[in-house]
């Protein structure tokens, strides 16, 4: 697969938000004093609708609730760990208000997984899927590439519900032909590569790992397809089952705790639909990492590097 140049998802997402804020005066952008290059333009041109709340995530979400109650669409921008966990009860209040009324609040969390590779476990974000998934009325998006971002922004305006958009913080490789068929965004997932024996499901940055693993497995005569799961909640279970029903098993890869993560959501879909398929989950075991020395090093420690995943998959394939 051709890989050229890299892309920083948040920059691209903010560019899309900028375009839409230019047309639509009904949008606010709040940040907890967290920035990006692309934000400068937004801050300059929409000085009234861009508010730096300060390092106060609880207040940020409460203010978003007030604005959204009055009919504004709100984007809330911050580091994924803090914009989900520091203000979790505020998000829960939003979730329960949204049961009764429309609240269009879009939480953008930047720096999922081990994006902050040097900052240690306070900045590692390996619980966000699990805790956000449990909140009713929230949708969760976990894009792996820039094609999806425009759709996410368009959808954010159109669908007046709370959403959590989780973004990898580091540049990602840009794929030239990631979607072979015309992708339908509302599907929530996309086949990047058809598979006969297995399907590997990735989300966010780990979709890229899934592609590498699938390519490597070809060398061992294992034909594995790749699914990019960019909407984690709700999962399109019908389409997912349709795709995987004839393969021998499923492999899930996420830079997130195994407990309550994407892989566990896949297990739920299969179990709830009486689909008896072997599943191998790759993710972070039940521990925090005081590990530095770069992303690859951290991924190696938790068995999420290409080599470990291929090796463990080959072992697993022999057993099933």
């Amino acid at each position: 697969m051709n890989q050229i140049e890299s892309i920083v998802l948040r920059e691209k997402l903010i560019e899309e938000i900028y375009k839409i804020m230019k047309k639509d005066k009904n949008i606010f952008f709040l940040t907890d004093d967290f920035g990006a290059k692309a934000l400068d333009k937004l801050r300059r041109d929409f000085s009234e609708r861009f508010i730096n709340i300060g390092i106060a995530e609880q207040n940020l979400i409460n203010i978003a609730i007030g604005l959204a109650y009055e009919g504004f669409t709100v984007f809330c921008y911050g580091i994924s760990t803090f914009i989900t966990m520091r203000c979790y009860e505020q998000l829960r209040n939003l979730s329960l208000f949204a049961e009764l009324k429309e609240f269009n609040i879009n939480i953008i969390g930047v720096g999922t997984g081990y994006s902050y590779e040097l900052s240690g476990p306070t900045h590692h974000c390996v619980e966000d899927i699990s805790i956000m998934k449990t909140l009713p009325n929230f949708m969760i998006f976990s894009p792996s590439n820039e094609f999806i971002l425009k759709y996410i922004v368009d959808f954010s305006i159109e669908c007046k519900k709370p959403k959590y958009i989780r973004l990898e913080g580091k540049p990602l490789k840009k794929f030239t032909y990631i979607y072979k068929k015309k992708n339908n965004f509302s599907d929530g997932l996309s086949i990047l590569k058809e598979g006969k024996d297995f399907y590997i499901i990735g989300t966010g940055n780990m979709t890229h790992r899934a592609i590498e693993v699938a390519e490597e497995l070809e060398k061992y005569k294992i034909n594995a397809g790749v699914i990019d799961l960019y909407r984690i909640k709700p999962i399109n279970s019908e389409l997912l089952i349709e795709i995987v029903k004839n393969v021998r098993g499923i492999i899930t890869i996420e830079e997130h705790l195994l407990a309550g993560g994407m892989g566990s959501a896949i297990l739920e879909v299969l179990a709830d639909n009486q689909i008896n398929l072997p599943v191998k989950r790759f993710g972070v075991r039940d521990k925090y990492l005081y590990a530095y020395g770069g992303r690859e090093n951290i991924q190696k420690i938790c068995g999420l590097d290409k080599g470990s995943i291929v090796k463990d998959t080959l072992d697993w394939v022999k057993k099933i």
């Binding site: 300060g54 106060a56 203010i63 007030g66 109650y69």
Partner: protein
């Protein structure tokens, strides 16, 4: 109506709503009666004193557990139809903490420390839409232990949210003790003033003071958010509650309030 008659009307309404709130509590003893009795004059002045304009203004009730007196008010004003305090069955539709579907209320919180920030968001939205109304936020003093309140107080002061009127039901008792024994909040007005608020401290059961202060806040041209410290008595009107720092978790029986309920207005 002359002002004197109007004030008498408000006082009578407050007595009526106090009785009705107690009756409501007797029917549903799980409700927090002491906390609801301290803010009756505040709510009556807002709702019957034409301070709170249903059309143009907004109201966020942050101390949701202490707002069951909203039920008799909204029933009396005709917003809640087919519900009678005397009819236990119809009351079963109502929770011990009112929810945001309640008419005239914009947001209401069961969990503490959220209403002030939400009110700031509404204030910004109203300013953006160039709406003239005010946003009232009713909070409790014990609630101010939540750090999120202070995040919102800093924000309101810095952004000069002059359409925001915060009312603290300063009943001085939290769930387990007097606030001054837990962490002393005084001087409360000074704390708010330092963050850019205009503030006034009054007797929260004195309808005239409430009416005058809220009216002057509504008319004020100062570019600052406003704070009304309503000094109240938790459990106001019920001797058994007034004297007890644990009154927050106390329920009443008919004999405790027979005298109040029997008293003619």
């Amino acid at each position: 109506m002359k002002k004197k008659e109007f004030l008498r009307f408000l006082k009578e309404k407050a007595n009526f709503i106090r009785k009705q709130t107690i009756k409501f509590h007797l029917a549903i003893p799980e409700t927090r009666i002491a906390s609801s009795l301290s803010c009756i004059e505040i709510l009556v002045t807002l709702y019957y004193g034409k301070i709170f304009n249903f059309k143009n203004d907004r109201i966020v009730i942050s101390k949701g557990h202490g707002a069951i007196s909203l039920y008799p008010i909204l029933i009396d004003l005709g917003f809640l139809k087919n519900i009678k305090i005397e009819n236990k069955k119809s009351l079963s539709l109502l929770g011990s903490i009112p929810d945001i579907n309640l008419p005239t209320i914009n947001l209401i919180n069961g969990s503490l420390g959220h209403g002030l920030g939400q009110g700031c968001g509404i204030a910004i939205a109203m300013r953006m839409r160039k709406l003239n109304g005010k946003i009232f936020v009713l909070i409790g003093d014990g609630e101010l232990y939540e750090g999120s309140c202070w995040e919102a107080i800093m924000f309101a002061g810095h952004h000069r949210l002059d359409n925001l009127i915060v009312i603290v039901d300063n009943n001085k008792i939290s769930m387990l003790d007097y606030c001054k024994k837990i962490i002393n909040l005084e001087p409360l007005d000074k704390k708010f003033q330092d963050f850019g608020f205009e503030s006034k401290s009054i007797n929260g059961h004195n309808i005239l003071d409430l009416y005058n202060t809220l009216t002057s806040f509504k008319k004020s041209s100062s570019k600052r958010p406003k704070l009304l410290i309503a000094n109240t008595i938790k459990g106001k009107g019920v001797a058994k509650l007034e004297k007890n720092p644990l009154c927050h978790i106390m329920s009443l029986e008919k004999k405790d309030v027979k005298e109040i309920l029997d008293k003619k207005l």
